[in-house]
């Protein structure tokens, strides 16, 4: 039996996903629903050329006056994020982390959207938003705690308006919607952004968050990184039409943006955030990108996808693309790139050292914070545990 999902899929720039094949032979492939224009917002070609089309005008204006300094900043963010990510991957290989979920290939989607945010906006990430965390000013070493197994994400969400990583896929879209309902109640003009993946789009919670945000007109941006894969499942297992189109049926706009184009991601996210701020309610942004690496360090993509797919996407590398643009426009010189290289190395070193120095949690930590106001049973169990621990100390002391 031909297995559709492994046929090397040639992603097209304005690609819709193709119809899913029926499991019953006799049933033909479903027709595609009509899509809206433009099918894919792109402001930089893979070759780094700036596109200025009328179709893009509504989004383009959000980056029309971007400065070379800001462009270099985006580049720097992407490079450092990738460096951090690579370091984490190798720390996992060295046994310093139990697991790592790499964002390789998704830097533009994350930095573009992350840099569109204001400080007072609030972010609800999945487990892969290391680039967004970077933009929020979360110390990258903080992200490693949960992957090392010393905590479940120990940063204070309110310090950087960056919520904890959420592993149960889709759940955070409802939290984001509720938070946004609260923002609206407060009369604030902040916005909220919820990240999720193409796989997560199938979860009932995501649909419910669309319903709630539409009905309450909540100032939230749903940012779906369609990286083509949910572990081993291609996007065709989740939908037979492009994901951005889902929003329409809930009464708010959906836009597909080239997720490897940091400028387009920045522009589209700014546009969507402005809609939220000005009371126009939710927006769905689908960043069409690619997971260059494995799902996590536990995964083996060779079992389910072909290398040539990856190769095709390498030609669209988000960092390379911006570098070409910077160079062609003379926005960055050798010195900038060299300095950044040194900065990258320093970051890698810092992360490495920080992880190695990260202490195991105190044994009693597991009882802490189970409850804010305490719980009699936890107190009892903590005391029993303490006595039990003490008995070893005594036994050892007695030897």
């Amino acid at each position: 039996m031909t297995v559709e999902s492994t046929a090397p899929r040639k992603p097209r720039r304005s690609a819709g996903t193709t119809g899913a094949k029926s499991t019953a032979g006799k049933r033909p492939t479903a027709k595609k629903a009509p899509s809206t224009k433009p099918e894919l917002v792109q402001l930089l070609t893979p070759e780094g050329e700036r596109i200025e089309s009328a179709e893009n005008a509504a989004y383009d204006k959000y980056v029309a006056d971007i400065t070379p300094d800001e462009l270099r900043g985006l580049y720097r963010d992407m490079v450092l994020t990738r460096r951090f990510d690579a370091e984490a991957t190798s720390l996992q290989r060295q046994g310093e982390l139990g697991l790592w979920a790499s964002l390789l290939g998704q830097e533009a989607a994350q930095i573009g959207s992350g840099r569109a945010l204001r400080d007072d906006d609030y972010v609800f990430p999945t487990y892969r938003e290391h680039g967004v965390a970077w933009c929020r000013g979360v110390d990258p070493t903080n992200l490693l705690g949960m992957f090392r197994g010393v905590n479940n994400g120990g940063w204070d969400p309110n310090s950087n308006n960056f919520h904890l990583y959420t592993i149960v896929i889709g759940s955070q879209t409802l939290h984001a919607t509720g938070y946004a309902m609260g923002v609206a109640k407060d009369g604030a003009d902040s916005a909220v952004i919820a990240y999720f993946g193409d796989g997560a789009s199938s979860q009932g919670d995501v649909a419910e968050s669309f319903t709630f945000s539409a009905v309450y007109n909540a100032p939230v941006v749903f940012f779906c990184q369609n990286n083509q894969w949910a572990i081993s499942e291609p996007t065709e297992r989740q939908t037979r039409v492009p994901l951005y189109q889902r929003a329409q049926g809930y009464g708010f706009p959906g836009v597909r943006v080239d997720g490897n184009d940091v400028l387009a991601c920045l522009a589209v996210t700014k546009w969507a955030l402005e809609r939220a701020r000005s009371g126009e309610g939710p927006t769905l942004v689908e960043a069409y990108t690619y997971r260059m690496g494995a799902h996590t360090t536990s995964d083996d993509p060779s079992r389910y996808r072909h290398d040539d797919e990856r190769a095709a996407w390498e030609a669209k590398d988000p960092i390379l693309r911006l570098r070409r643009f910077l160079e062609a426009a003379n926005h960055a010189d050798e010195g900038f790139f060299a300095e950044l290289e040194a900065e990258s190395e320093a970051l890698g070193r810092r992360v490495r050292e920080a992880v190695r120095a990260m202490p195991d949690p105190d044994h009693f930590a597991m009882f802490e914070h189970a409850y804010a106001d305490g719980h009699a049973l936890v107190d009892e169990e903590r005391a029993q545990f303490a006595a039990y621990q003490a008995s070893f100390a005594e036994a050892e002391g007695g030897n």
Binding site: N158, V168, T177, G178, M181, D205, F212, H369, A376
Partner: protein, 333 residues
């Protein structure tokens, strides 16, 4: 803006009304308190527990939600993260399960996961239990399914005064509280003193002293236990009744104190016996009172079968005779 309870502090009212008053007091006292759920607005909920609240506090404080329980709890979590204190209504016991994932994996764990940085002051109100002749999914007692989950607190009042005060305390709690309301007692009246200082939320109360055996119950079964004790008294048996009030934590100290005196314990709840609250109570009290117990801890509850159609619920639920039978058996040891 809001019209709160009449000036006299002590009033006789139905349990549903006591919760209504408690919600009104909380909405009045703290602008961060919200009431959310299906039909909680103009209708005032199918049991009228939120009657009049939207009228007085507006649509942005008393919120009719889309019909999606996961969405209700999930957005309540988000609102709590923003600093609100949502009180969420699940329309009936059997409809809490679409929200179970958000409750178990998110609401219960958020505080611990954030190493204490984030608090989750969310109350989930669930009218529960049988005895009202309802159709399927409207008569269940799922409290054990929440008590097993660390990070949640689970309570159930048995009378209007507790309903009023425990709701106050639940809303003030910085932990998520699953608040089980004994729906068949909604219309039972009792005195509520708005000025009495209440006991702690998770402390059991001796509602009747006795010497021969302890009956422990919560929510709808406390009233039944009183009837049992009355009948037993006529037969010359002195039963002590503990209203547990809290299912997580359980107040083992109070149960132990009582059992050390009476030396016999029968636990009564509507939920199925198998893996129910009675199991946990029996296990721990047996451990704590091993040399005091004259008889094993006996349990009376629902059977291990889906809640039956209404015309059978009387047989399915613990009733006077079944509890008396357990009392007899315990006393026969």
């Amino acid at each position: 803006m809001a019209q709160t309870m009449a000036s006299e502090p002590v009033k006789n009212m139905a349990l549903a009304k006591a919760i209504n008053e408690s919600l009104r007091t909380a909405l009045d006292a703290d602008p961060k308190v919200l009431v959310m759920g299906e039909d909680v607005g103009k209708l005032g909920g199918v049991f009228r527990v939120t009657d009049g609240l939207q009228k007085d506090f507006g649509e942005s404080r008393v919120i009719d939600t889309p019909l999606a329980e996961s969405g209700i709890v999930g957005t309540a979590i988000g609102l709590a993260l923003r600093g609100y204190r949502p009180v969420v209504e699940i329309q009936f016991d059997g409809f809490v399960f679409p929200a179970y994932d958000q409750i178990v994996t998110q609401l219960a764990k958020m505080h611990a996961r954030s190493l204490g940085k984030v608090k989750m002051p969310v109350v989930v109100r669930i009218p529960y239990g049988g005895g009202i002749g309802a159709v399927e999914h409207h008569s269940e007692s799922p409290e054990a399914l929440f008590a097993h989950v660390a990070g949640l607190k689970v309570v159930s009042p048995s009378n209007p005064s507790d309903a009023y005060w425990m709701m106050q305390q639940a809303i003030q709690s910085d932990d998520p509280v699953i608040f089980f309301e004994p729906k068949r007692r909604y219309w039972d009246k009792g005195e509520v003193n708005r000025e009495a200082i209440p006991g702690p939320l998770h402390k059991a109360q001796v509602v009747r002293e006795g010497t021969d055996l302890t009956l422990a119950a919560y929510g709808p079964m406390v009233k039944l236990c009183k009837e049992v004790a009355d009948v037993a008294a006529e037969e010359g048996r002195s039963l002590e009744i503990l209203d547990l009030r809290s299912v997580s934590p359980l107040d083992f100290d109070s149960i132990q104190t009582s059992v050390e005196k009476t030396r016999r314990l029968v636990v009564v709840h509507e939920a199925p016996v198998f893996f129910g609250s009675g199991a946990e109570i029996a296990a721990r009290i047996t451990e704590r009172c091993f040399y005091h117990l004259e008889a094993p801890v006996l349990r009376v509850g629902g059977y291990h079968a889906p809640y039956p159609p209404a015309r059978l619920e009387e047989e399915y639920l613990p009733g006077l005779d079944r509890v008396l039978d357990a009392v007899d058996r315990a006393l026969a040891y």
